[in-house]
């Protein structure tokens, strides 16, 4: 007699995300500190975490603003960074139950980590995605708010080497993508574009211009 594996519940998703909790917690704290240093304001930073819920894009936008870039450049950097969620959400399109309104709300819990966890058994599982997404959301918004408060105490984040820490953060997020040959080539091209444009273009523009490197995807 075989025992059917019980189907996972939302609380299994919460539990699955627990080992990752330190990441979003510290990530959110540092976003709060950076947003505060960029003069964004505590309320705005927290609202952004609650409505966007996508760390790298939020960091990208605030980094551009902090460097003196324009509003358009900051928006474009964040939108380009988050465009990957269109592709990610397509991969889990069929696991969301219910009507469109419910799917709209629950799909907002898709982040890199919850998506990765939900597919760990070899097929995507809705309770894992929603459970882990919920925990990560609470941690992300809460730690952002806390970070904006701590930001005042931290003072100039660059004195502590936080500018280099953010470079390391982006690098760590980038690393898993570089295993693919095409992604590696596109990343190398993007690095060259950014390096060439940085001395001559206004802040933020090199980041947006680097996006053309993804057109390498059209190559067969």
């Amino acid at each position: 007699m075989s025992v059917e594996p019980r189907s996972p519940r939302i609380r299994d998703g919460v539990r699955a995300a627990l080992p990752l909790a330190a990441g979003p917690l510290l990530f959110g704290l540092s976003f709060g500190v950076l947003a505060d240093a960029a003069g964004m304001g505590a309320v705005a930073a927290t609202v952004m975490s609650a409505t966007t819920f996508a760390g790298s894009a939020q960091f990208g936008a605030v980094t551009v603003l902090d460097a003196g870039g324009t509003l358009i450049a900051a928006i474009m950097a964040a939108v380009f960074l988050n465009a990957r969620y269109a592709a990610i959400s397509v991969t889990v399109a069929s696991i969301f139950p219910g009507g469109r309104a419910r799917r709209l709300v629950e799909s907002q819990l898709i982040v890199d980590e919850s998506w990765a966890l939900s597919g760990r058994s070899g097929r995507f599982e809705w309770p894992i995605l929603v459970g882990s997404g919920l925990l990560l959301y609470v941690l992300w918004v809460g730690s952002t708010a806390l970070g904006t408060v701590l930001g005042d105490a931290v003072g100039d984040p660059n004195g502590l080497g936080l500018d280099a820490a953010f470079a390391a953060l982006f690098l760590a997020l980038l690393a898993p993508y570089l295993r693919g040959r095409r992604a590696f080539q596109a990343a190398a091209l993007a690095a060259v574009i950014t390096l060439v444009l940085t001395p001559v273009a206004p802040a933020g523009v090199p980041i947006v211009a680097a996006a053309v490197a993804c057109l390498l995807g059209l190559k067969r």
Binding site: A78, N82, S94, L104, G161, A168, L169, A190, A211, L216
Partner: protein, 102 residues
């Protein structure tokens, strides 16, 4: 200040639409393969640009400073599969120390 709220509104709305794209708008249909392969490259490309500007970006110029050793050692940590937080701590501490002695 208004700029910040415009940023939050536009980026927030775009993100909601991206995340809803699959479950709400597309259902079980797939993106055309060529579009898919362009979209897949967006994240690595943008992250690379951010690494570069955050490491050598200055006030309208390339700036070689204490960030380089910090990020280089963090890169080694990432390559050795250290956790995210460890890589960030290495970059921050090394850069701060170099600034302290320089």
């Amino acid at each position: 200040m208004t700029d910040v709220w415009i940023l939050i509104a536009v980026v927030g709305l775009a993100t909601v639409l991206f995340k809803a794209a699959g479950p709400v708008f597309l259902g079980t249909r797939a993106l055309p393969p060529r579009i898919q392969s362009v979209v897949e490259l967006l994240a690595p490309v943008m992250l690379t640009a951010l690494v570069v500007t955050q490491t050598v970006g200055g006030d309208g110029e390339l700036s070689i400073d204490a960030r380089i050793p910090g990020v280089a050692l963090a890169a080694v940590a990432v390559w050795r599969r250290a956790p995210l937080v460890v890589a960030m701590a290495i970059a921050a501490v090394v850069t701060a120390l170099v600034r302290l002695v320089a």
